[in-house]
Amino acid sequence: MSTYAKTIQGHQCDECGAEMVLLLFCDHCGADYPERKRLNAFSLLGLEPAFSLADETIDGLEIELTRRLHPDKWQHRGERLHRKALLAQTAANQALQAIREPFERGDTLLLLQEEVSSGQLDGNNSLPQEFLVEQLELQEEIAEGLEPDRKRALKSLVRAELDSLRSQLSDQFVRVQQVETDSERLDALKSARTCLDRARYWRNLRMALKGVAAR
């Protein structure tokens, strides 16, 4: 990982000046900022939008958010504040979900590029026929049941493909930052989109390999 996103330090509550852990709600004085609901996941959490984000950063943020916002902590601060805290924690969890997993994070980042892409980055860009056929066959094979050896082999295949896509995705997002022209940027974003589309299929396979609930 080359560039870690930096936490935007010192975002203060307009009412009391305390540092805010989530831009929606001040856990110090209870002021809330419903107009910020439309902020993207990164901004809400006070992070710079970036693909490279260390797991530790996200985990640390989650712990901090939970410790300060979890409704259980607001049990005795009155019905109104308890409710506000519940909504804040809910929004925090939702924002964390949008950036926690690299591919989810990639999707979230692409959504932020609307003005450059003007709708050209919607999902389901056509993927090569042979890729789709391969995916279909693998899904069918898994559905029919696997021998332990084959299952292990497939798991490492899926892991390798996802690792490779993740690093390609990372490269494309770095390119987005570096290129000069809008058309080059759009090109990088489109490549990122393709990575994400392929990754979706591999992630489905990963889910299928984990199996459904163990009943």
């Binding site: 985990d59 939970t66 409704p71």
Partner: protein
């Protein structure tokens, strides 16, 4: 040590943790910083989750109910938790061998019990158990239990959690929080005191199996993955033992025994007793005599054959362990602590296989039956204290199953994936398939499969009042919201028309708020009368029930009883009648104690007549007595 003394006119407010278990229910509270099980005045720490309802529809709960199982097999309900929030389809073959009747209820698709011509919902019966546990705690501490944390298996789905919450409300308890049993167990072991750890909780109770992986980081407990089986537990070990006991009989005799409710109860009790002794001894001898059917059984089961019989069940639990580790992307060696919960983890085979699997012995120092209630008490204390848990451990839970709605063609769109941290909200847009469609039926589903028919239906929502528009024009936004208790609320609105249409909620397995209100009103427990008066009314009802039961037992057994015993029971009955006339607390309690004591030999005798389990020379009566003394 500080002992809280009740001041006259001012009652102590008990904030408790309640483990509403499949087999037993326990109540605990924090005293001087440490959680303790609340024992009743007789020193009993456990309330068996058994309810016995007599012909007059008077319920008796706990030990007394268990004693009546033989006299009143069709009216004595156990393992009620298995039926909470479930429908007939969920149960399929599992109602086989139950002496009581499970029927489809009049409310939605959930099941109900049919007892002496009247229907009881699992929520109502669970509420009876909660009321009994609550009364015991209140009597022992002279306070009032209004607020509690109730535990559920982590694998409990939305409708099962809702049903548990409703049971609490019907029992007049303000449920502070529904928490997961594994989380409670980890709290009880004080594992939240460390800085960081990965904990696997293996909970094999009477009726449910749960395995969860928890991650602790600086005072935040997060369930990262959870799975289990709501239809696997110690009861299944009993069933294996019943099969072993019946091994030598031909099919016709087996069928005869299992279809006779009194006999199947006796078999179950014998199996349970043999199972417990097999955790200590190398073998157990079971002798049963069913005179009415002309069948005799005398069988010695050694631990080895028992372990062969239950091994597939234990291996099924290890598959779930592997599944949950896989789901959390962990290997067995990543786990720092393994915690054992549930009475069935006393089984040596279970502990042995766990140790082999993880290469380290599991935590077993706390009583596996009590550990969940103790942890719940700690969390209740945190939530109920004046500071409102500002310094306590925070529990960050996840939703155990994916949630979505049915789409055109029987597919499903998932709005929330399993293991998503809660509270959480998710919104998804949908549209219509047909021109001028003014209503949309929204079907809420739960589970991991891809087709609606394979998933569990949680309820139907009807969004009506959409103005006529061409197909594809309306934008219906469906919002899922799961609160910190894991309870789901669904809203839907149509946005294109800027008309917010109302939705009608029809929970498939739960109760409408109106119905719960109604049941609360029905429950005398909720009436805000004076505590003393209420306790007296309860006591009178209980005494009346005991009197009826004793009289009928005496009438049935008189001929077979020692005349001296008959005299004693008759005297105790007369004493009870006199006490009921007097109707003051002390005389009622005294008379009940005497009557209970004097009828105990009758119950034991009845039990011994049909079954005799000899474990190194002890009879069932001896074992029951020992158990009572121990608890």
């Amino acid at each position: 040590m500080r002992i809280p003394l009740p001041v006259k006119g001012q009652t102590v407010d008990i904030v408790a943790g309640i483990d509403l278990g499949t087999t037993n229910t326990l109540v605990a509270q924090v005293v001087d910083g440490a959680p303790q099980i609340i024992a009743d005045r007789a020193g009993r720490r456990i309330t068996p989750s058994v309810v016995s309802i007599d012909q007059e529809h008077h319920p008796v709960v706990g030990d007394e109910a268990r004693e009546r199982a033989l006299l009143n097999p069709t009216g004595t309900l156990w393992s009620v938790k298995r039926f909470l929030g479930r429908g007939m389809d969920d149960l399929a073959g599992d109602v086989r061998g139950l002496p009581y009747k499970v029927v489809p209820s009049k409310h939605g698709e959930q099941v109900a019990f049919r007892v002496h011509g009247k229907q009881y919902l699992p929520q109502e019966v669970s509420a009876m158990i909660l009321v009994e546990a609550k009364k015991r705690a209140e009597r022992a501490l002279g306070g009032r239990l209004r607020r509690a944390v109730i535990t559920v298996p982590a694998y409990f789905d939305d409708s099962q959690r809702q049903a548990t919450r409703d049971a609490g409300r019907i029992a007049g308890i303000d449920v502070l929080r529904i928490i997961n049993e594994p989380t409670a167990a980890a709290l009880a072991y004080g594992l939240d005191q460390g800085r960081a750890a990965t904990i696997l909780v293996y909970d094999l109770g009477g009726g449910t199996f749960d395995v969860s992986v928890l991650k602790l980081t600086e005072g935040v407990f997060k369930v990262i993955a959870t799975t289990g089986d709501t239809m696997l537990g110690g009861d299944d070990f009993d069933r294996q033992l019943v099969d072993l006991l019946l091994d030598d009989l031909d099919e016709a005799k087996k069928e005869l025994l299992l279809s006779h409710s009194g006999c199947s109860t006796a078999l179950r009790v014998a199996a349970e007793t043999a199972k417990k002794s097999l955790s200590q001894e190398a073998s157990a001898r079971v002798q049963l005599r069913f005179e009415t059917l002309g069948i005799q059984l005398d069988k010695t089961i050694d631990r080895e054959s028992y372990e062969v019989a239950i091994r597939p069940l234990v291996e099924r639990t290890l598959e779930a362990v592997n599944f949950v580790l896989d789901d959390a992307d962990l290997d067995p060696e990543d786990v720092n602590d393994v915690v054992c919960v549930g009475g069935s983890t006393r089984t040596p085979l279970v502990r042995r296989l766990l140790e082999e699997h993880f290469g380290r012995p599991p935590h077993t120092s706390l009583n596996p039956d009590e550990v969940v209630a103790l942890g719940a008490a700690l969390q209740a204390h945190t939530l109920g204290s004046a500071t409102g848990g500002e310094d306590g451990t925070v529990l960050l839970d996840v939703t155990p199953l994916s949630l979505g709605i049915e789409t055109y063609g029987g597919g499903v769109t998932k709005l929330l994936w399993r293991n998503t941290p809660i509270p959480v909200q998710a919104t998804e847009g949908f549209t219509t398939q047909v021109d001028n469609q003014t209503g949309v039926e929204i079907h809420v589903l739960q589970g991991e499969r891809e087709m609606a028919r394979d998933l569990r239906s949680l309820g139907h929502f009807k969004l009506s009042g959409i103005p006529p528009m061409p197909a594809g024009m309306p934008r219906v936004l469906v919002e899922f919201f799961i609160d910190a208790n894991g309870i789901l609320k669904v809203k839907a609105k149509e946005v294109t028309s800027a008309v917010e249409a109302g939705i009608e909620v029809k929970p498939t397995y739960g109760l409408t708020d109106g119905k719960v209100e109604e049941m609360i009103l029905e429950s005398i427990e909720h009436a805000e009368e004076d505590l003393e008066e209420r306790l007296l009314a309860d006591l009178k009802a209980e005494a009346g029930g005991l009197l009826r039961y004793s009289k009928s037992a005496l009438a049935q057994r008189r001929a077979n009883l020692d005349p001296a015993l008959v005299g004693q029971v008759e005297a105790a009955v007369a004493g009870m009648e006199a006490a009921l006339d007097l109707a003051d607390k002390e005389s009622l309690e005294a008379a009940m104690a005497v009557l209970n004591e004097s009828t105990h030999p009758i119950a034991t005798q009845m039990m011994n007549e049909v079954l005799k389990v000899t474990v190194t020379g002890r009879t069932v009566g001896d074992i029951l007595d020992e158990e009572q003394k121990r608890s």
